[in-house]
């Protein structure tokens, strides 16, 4: 009896394992790989590009890239369609000239998504939001509008982007190096308020500063 039970348990477990192995990659999901996947380079832009905005002005954040991308790891072209979701993190900071610190300032803006969507970030929610790209026939696209509500010196920073993978395909997770295409990010404001080195790579690639008055 014991043998039969053990045998049955083993058979069930083996069947379950096979199911896991062969059906774990279901058509609606994906499993990322450690040390695997792709690395892409994409860009974004703030517009209109100016260092001073007025209260009530709208700043547009736009990022768009094709679904066929070049993987930076092996320099090969990849059709990255049907991602389970491409996400980044965007944050709003008030550059405090008294404490010389950035202070979470999402509440200084009214935030709309035009293409794609926002979701609450896990951490300090007054810092910002996670943003999610919209997939159309040709591109992945995200566009948002930030309406300035309060005066001050502000900074907006974004993270790189992350996708857990393509639907139904394991080990297709991807990191997207997101850089800013703006010709002027007004980083002198960072230097003025925080006295930091503006040649910092992260600052140059991810941050946009401006005044609201």
């Amino acid at each position: 009896m014991t043998t039969i039970i053990k045998y049955s348990r083993n058979v069930l477990l083996i069947i379950a394992v096979q199911s896991f192995l062969f059906f774990g990659c279901n058509k609606d999901g994906t499993t990322p790989c450690q040390n695997g996947g792709y690395s892409f380079v994409v860009s974004s832009q703030y517009s209109p590009q100016q260092d001073i905005y007025q209260v009530g002005d709208t700043i547009y954040f736009t990022s768009q890239f094709p679904k066929t991308l070049v993987d930076q790891i092996n320099n090969s072209s990849v059709n990255y369609s049907n991602s389970v979701g491409i996400q980044g993190d965007i944050g709003f900071g008030y550059l405090d000239t008294i404490t010389h610190q950035p202070i979470a300032a999402r509440d200084s803006f009214t935030i709309f998504s035009i293409k794609g969507s926002f979701s609450e970030r896990p951490g300090n929610q007054n810092v910002g939001l996670n943003f999610n790209y919209f997939e159309n026939a040709e591109n992945y696209e995200f566009q948002a509008a930030f309406v300035c509500k309060k005066r001050g010196i502000y900074t907006i920073g974004v993270s790189d982007l992350l996708s857990e993978g393509l639907q139904g395909e394991n080990c297709t997770n991807a990191g997207f190096n997101l850089s800013l295409a703006n010709t002027n990010q007004h980083l002198y404001l960072h230097q003025y308020v925080l006295n930091v080195d503006t040649t910092d790579q992260e600052l140059q690639q991810k941050v946009y500063d401006f005044r609201v008055q």
């Binding site: 379950a16 059906f23 993987d71 970030r121 996670n130 080990c171 992260e202």
Partner: protein
Amino acid sequence: MGVITHRKLLICTYLDRVKLFIIYCPNQIIKLLENNFQPANKNGTTYCSPLKNNWVFILLAGILLLSACQKEMKPVNNPEKINTSWTNVNVPDNFFKECKVPGVADAVQNQNPTAAPFNTDYDNGDLPVILGTQLRNPYSIANMQQASMRLYGSDEIIYVTHLYVRYKPETIAQLSLLVEDNSLELQDYPMDYEVLQEGQYYQDPTLENEQIGWLYTVVPANYVPVAGIEYEILQELYIPPDDNLLLEGMAESLAGGAAYDDTVIVDYRHITRTDAVAEPLIVPNRFPVPCEVDPCHSGCVTQDECGTFPTGNNPGTPGEYHDPRIPRGIITVQDQRTCSATNPIVNVAVRQARVVCKRWFKIWRGYTNDQGEFISSRKFKHKVKINVKTFNDNAKIAKIRGIRLWQMFFPITKKIGVFDQGDMAYANYTFRKPKPTNSADSELPYWVAATVHNSVIEHREYAEQDGMAAPPLHLHIILSNWNVGDFKSSGTTPLWNKCPVTATELPFIQAFIEYFIAQPSFVAGTMNTLVDILKNQTDMAINYLAPDGEYDCRLTSAAIKATTYHELSHASHYSQAGCNYWYTYRNRLAKEITEKTLNPGGDAIVPYGDGTETDAGVVALGEMWGYYMEHIYADRHYGNGGANGTLNEGGFTADLQYEWPNDPGGLNCHLIALENFNPNLLTDNERWIPKGLPYDLWDGRNDRNFNVINPNDNVVGYTIQQCFNALQSDVRTIPAFRYRLLLQNGNNQNIDVNTLFDDYNY
């Protein structure tokens, strides 16, 4: 010595006996005349053999004696010209019969076998040893006595020095006990058989696949066997303690069927091979005779005297004399930092690796030094087989297999060659990464093993530098190319050998093994058998499946080392936190994996979960430490990696959430990966593991000042040691870690520390 023809040699040999007869048997000449003669020495070797009463023959012999063989006999006739302290005896060609050496196949074969495709090769690329016939043992007491008598006229020096024995462990525990015994050099096939095909394992035809086979070895005569394990003494041996190669050569020759006559003429013993044509060997007739064969005696430094030596790639000082009978060499491994042409592969020493030189029952075991050099303390005649094993007191590195699972207990063993005299003095070897290669390449695990082996040593050194506890000794590491594909080039550290599996863990361990080590399709029998083998015996697994099948660029030495440093840092954590912590840790992962196995469409997130589970804090702490140290030590080992280009040029990269290249003007990619870890990205299922936290506790950069989404990091200077010291057994959540860290460090920067932890959402 001049060239002599076969016919002339026979005549000389015969006349030599005639001369001896005249010298040693003068009385017998008279008796000979009386045709009444029958003497023999105590060996039964007839020096003064009956001759026909033929005066014509004797006269003719006398004439020939004075002419034909005068040159050859000169040493005998002029003994005063021979240096009596002379210990160098040049053995004439063909004096010793060349015999088969056990364990060494005649032909070079199967040097680079490639495993069959997955799930058809349960041996994972290993080949079987195929035995031929049993060879006559030259080291047996009887044979050695005979050899000694032939050389020295005495067998007084022969006694039992060693025993040829075998064990038959019945259980995994017994097998483990023997394999761990540093005094035993075990082999799984008999040591006195011809080998038709060399391989990595032997299947005893009288046993089932999964039955543990006999293990053969040689032990000192006074050896006390391990109690409770079946044990047999197969033969008593005399292995000359002084490496008397002349005696060993004679013994081997006799065992191989050669026949000799010997004759003492004044101070010299003339030994003549009688079953084949060879010049006689002439040795001083002393006992014991220091008549060791030394083809290149002390002071001999030129090739003319020493014969031809291999040139090029020699260890040590150029031109340095190496005794041609002593195996020595340098063992290296290719170090591939990246696949970029700007970072060419270099060879680095394989440090502190076990080296075994073996011929018949004569074995030397030692280790390479930190420069990869080894030198045997024993001398060998020729055909010495040299193996390098990824094994020392730190760790034993083995490889997964799907059948004859008990073979996984043996460390990966690379035969670097079978060397003749001279060549053995320059037995260099480099573990190379095959190119192109793939997971089924049977050469690949050797390179991976050597890389992991070195990484273990490096990690211990780095840990000591940082005041972090070292991993436990005697780690059992298994390399796998058979794990679930989603966790490539990664590893696991369950420490089952250090913290034996409990009954409550058993229901979950199979799924754990399938995920991290081997899927069922690779196992010939049931997974239960594999579980039984691995549980309680495996501490760590390192997987060498390359992400995306990119073996050239993504299974680099740097990648393997980073993974190994990660896993070893878990082991360091265990050294401080203990088994109770580890039970909780590994069970958390095993349960998550089992849940996913039983319900593939469910919410389980393998292998770590989503951070909301009971005991998730243990995982958060453990993995935080693993990822932190992985990148810190990879950075320390390789520096800035020399990457000049972008990822697609094969630059030096690391990833946590994204793939990071080196910043040419700033941080190493590993530090960037830590520094840019974002705990606030919903998409990242592992965001709750604060992989960048310890680095932020140390570094002087406030990340928030550069990007508002980053943690507010005003903390500076918490060292690896300070962070590690807080990882105590009762510290099982990130907040507990924060409290302990502050408690142990006088609340140093407590406000900023709390802010930083808050920004990591703890």
